[in-house]
């Protein structure tokens, strides 16, 4: 299974001071001078890709990590190489992509069409642009199904595929196709193994059994922080540079919206500060304040 994890490196926004939030003429806060971090939901996508590789039979998964960004992503790229991603690719962006999800999706799609994949994992939204649109635009561009707000995914066992088919009337077909022993290795016919994908909806958890190709847009996946490579692996694999290329040119993708203003709202309140006294004294002040405001 060819798995691609699409990630982005962003400024650590909590490190920006009030001064840093003042935007310049290009409508950018002063984010270039603070440390960077993996976009949180992309981090979960990368970790889920690694877990899926472990869950599949040895050698079955080929992992590629792709980012569209500047050299600030190279440090993360080295970490991913140390985690034994088969390829790490960085595409130099042709434009400011913060609020261009349609262009980001087009660039990623061009890369994917040139080097086909079976499964794409990426975060639902980025910490800076926050468009929450790139996965949908990418899926529609590729004509692929997408599972939004993915929490986890793993190879589906045959019983699970059979049991889960009751709502779609595909129970018998799934059981028959998956074979009696279950698991990815039992999937016959040389096709891709079905995946059990768990996602969040407005009402609860949705578990689906899906045959790739699939785009899984990862949301708030608990306990899916990217693992840390060993020192040995970092030394052995982490020194290889990522493939760096210019993103595809000549894509006729017009902006659908244009950023016109960017302001920092002032949401401070007139705070009463309590910094003296024992914990019991402070608790008493809190209790009184909350009691006075009981519904």
């Amino acid at each position: 299974m060819r798995i691609l994890a699409l990630f982005k490196v962003v400024a650590e926004l909590e490190a920006l001071t009030e001064e840093d939030w003042r935007v310049d003429a290009e409508l950018r806060p002063q984010e270039r001078y603070v440390r960077t971090t993996l976009n949180p939901e992309d981090e979960s996508a990368l970790e889920l890709a690694l877990r899926l590789r472990e869950a599949l039979p040895p050698g079955e998964a080929v992992l590629t990590a792709l980012t569209i960004g500047d050299e600030r992503a190279d440090r993360t790229a080295a970490t991913l190489m140390a985690l034994k991603f088969d390829r790490v690719v960085r595409l130099a962006p042709p434009a400011d992509l913060r609020f261009r999800p349609e262009l980001t999706a087009a660039l990623a799609a061009a890369e994917i069409l040139a080097r086909p994949q079976d499964l794409i994992l990426t975060g639902c939204r980025s910490a800076d642009g926050g468009n929450a649109l790139t996965p949908f635009f990418l899926a529609e561009r590729l004509g692929w199904p997408i599972v939004a707000e993915t929490l986890s995914l793993a190879p589906a066992s045959a019983p699970e595929a059979a049991e889960g088919g009751e709502e779609t009337g595909e129970t018998a077909k799934a059981a028959e196709t998956a074979g009696p022993s279950g698991g990815a290795s039992a999937w016959p016919g040389g096709g891709l193994p079905p995946l059990a994908v768990e996602s969040l909806t407005d009402d609860g958890l949705l578990r689906q059994v899906v045959v790739p190709p699939l785009l899984a847009a990862v949301g708030n996946a608990p306990s899916a922080y990217l693992r840390v490579p060993t020192v040995k692996d970092r030394l052995s694999f982490g020194r290889r540079p990522p493939e760096v290329r210019q993103a595809a040119k000549g894509l006729d993708v017009r902006p659908r919206l244009k950023l016109r203003s960017l302001t920092r709202p002032d949401e401070r309140r007139r705070v009463r500060l309590v910094d003296q006294g024992a914990p019991s004294d402070k608790a008493a002040i809190l209790l009184q304040a909350l009691t006075e405001r009981r519904p």
Binding site: P29, A162, T201, R260, P265, P279, A283, L287, P295
Partner: protein
């Protein structure tokens, strides 16, 4: 502006979705939907948003001969290539179309929604087009039913909608994004407002993890707009309660009260004063049960988990963060909340560390709440978290760092190590037998926590 709205009637959150759209449309008459499409279960009783404020206007338009006279009132009617009756009669604004389907199929629904939004111009996949025949017939019957004796004279070209409105949440975001991708329009997820004083319109939303407010010129239509969760529990016309305004206390309004002056009553639409009471038009019905199952989907099972609903109506709330160190710290905060008669939630880092279930997540990626008071413990005050509690009437914080952002964002900030202060607060609340909100179904284990430590109070 011709507007179509889409709602997920298969969700228990439908009433909240309707209220959010009502609040949004209340102060933006130009964006009141002419057609509201509700996806409802194939069987069972759906709760239709018949009381949507724009319905009142529709029925008044209907009383004037069933024809729409204003520019706001669009004709609605998709067409299918090669089908008869492709030109539909004018229909009044505010119609509701119920699409019956056994479950949400995003791929197919995107095609259906694109078909409706484009006025029948979008080309659906052949399998979906079959199902759309039913939709088409329902709309056509309704159109002819409005003017049964004058159908031929009243036929006009079908026009696409300029704006598609979606409620806050997973459904709205996905559908808005996919619809925009399919129709080539602009999409905005997390919409706070639309400014219509210029051309083209400007959409307002928060970006940079809620730290900045952005204004986007909408360049390419149709505009596919999914509301921000700020519109949940909002009073009409305003997504956000000013931080300095303890609205509940000052006005007596509840968070979802609709008695605000800016709320159009059901009789305030154009011409409403002429007859007083309003009779909504009967909803249209169409069946999507024949929508094909995506061939690669072998199975699906949805487990209701009251996601978001756990905290959405919280009147008082304790929110705990990573500053409480571990799961035991979160359990201490939960026990304290119960002793105070309050609900409890956590920040994203705490939820991602699996210290609490996801339905306790507060913030822009979880639940946005508007409680009477909120106590934030062990939180730095990151904007993404603050987005979930900024509507609190009174915000108190406990933090060891006087320079933490949460301090300036609070009405009361207690500086110190959170755990000892929480222990004392739990003890004081239990001793006073204080209960700010009775929750008999949730017996308080605070006494147990006092005896055995926070880990006992799960």
């Amino acid at each position: 502006m011709r507007t179509i709205a889409f709602l997920n009637g298969l969700s228990a959150a439908l009433p909240a979705q309707v209220r959010a759209l009502q609040a949004f449309a209340a102060a933006r008459p130009a964006l009141r939907p002419q057609l509201t499409v509700v996806v409802v279960p194939t069987s069972g009783v759906a709760s239709p948003p018949d009381d949507a404020p724009w319905v009142g206007e529709a029925s008044q338009a209907g009383k004037k001969g069933g024809l729409a006279a204003s520019a706001e009132t669009a004709s609605v009617g998709p067409r299918l290539e090669g089908r008869p009756g492709e030109r539909l009669g004018r229909r009044p604004a505010g119609r509701i179309l119920r699409l019956r389907t056994p479950w949400i199929q995003p791929e197919s629904l995107t095609e259906v929604f694109a078909f409706l939004t484009s006025g029948g111009r979008a080309e659906p996949a052949s399998a979906v087009a079959e199902a759309l025949t039913d939709v088409f017939q329902a709309l056509r019957r309704a159109a002819l039913g409005q003017a049964p004796n004058d159908a031929s004279a009243d036929v006009i070209d079908v026009e696409p909608f300029e704006t598609a409105l979606f409620p806050p949440g997973v459904f709205g975001a996905e559908m808005a994004g996919r619809l925009a991708a399919k129709l080539g329009g602009a999409a905005v997820i997390g919409l706070l407002d639309v400014v219509l004083d210029g051309s083209p319109p400007t959409a307002v939303k928060r970006v940079y993890s809620q730290n900045l407010l952005a204004g986007f010129e909408l360049v390419q239509g149709p505009y596919c707009l999914a509301l921000s969760p700020d519109w949940f529990g909002s009073r009409a016309g305003r997504p956000e309660r000013p931080a300095t305004e303890p609205a509940d206390e000052a006005t007596g309004d509840s968070a979802d009260d609709s008695t605000d002056d800016s709320t159009p009553a059901r009789t305030t639409g154009p011409g409403a004063g002429e007859s007083g009471a309003v009779t909504p038009l009967a909803p249209l019905e169409a069946d999507l049960a024949s929508l094909p199952t995506p061939p690669r989907l072998l199975g699906r099972r949805e487990t209701p988990a009251q996601t978001g609903a756990v905290l959405a109506e919280a009147k008082t709330l304790v929110v705990a963060g990573r500053g409480l160190d571990d799961q035991a710290g979160i359990e201490l905060a939960a026990a304290t909340a119960r002793a105070l008669g309050a609900d409890w939630g956590v920040s994203r880092p705490a939820a991602m560390s699996a210290w609490a279930p996801l339905d306790r997540l507060v913030g822009v990626s979880g639940t946005v709440v508007a409680p009477r008071w909120c106590l934030a413990v062990g939180l730095s005050g990151a904007a993404a978290l603050h987005a979930g509690i900024r509507k609190a009437g009174f915000l108190a914080a406990v933090n060891s760092d006087p320079k933490a952002p949460i301090v300036g964002l609070s009405d009361l900030a207690v500086i110190g190590d959170a755990k000892p202060i929480l222990q004392e607060l739990l003890k004081a609340a239990a001793e006073a037998a204080l209960s700010l909100e009775t929750r008999p179904e949730d017996p308080s284990p605070e006494t147990q926590a006092l005896s055995h430590g926070p880990a006992a109070a799960s």
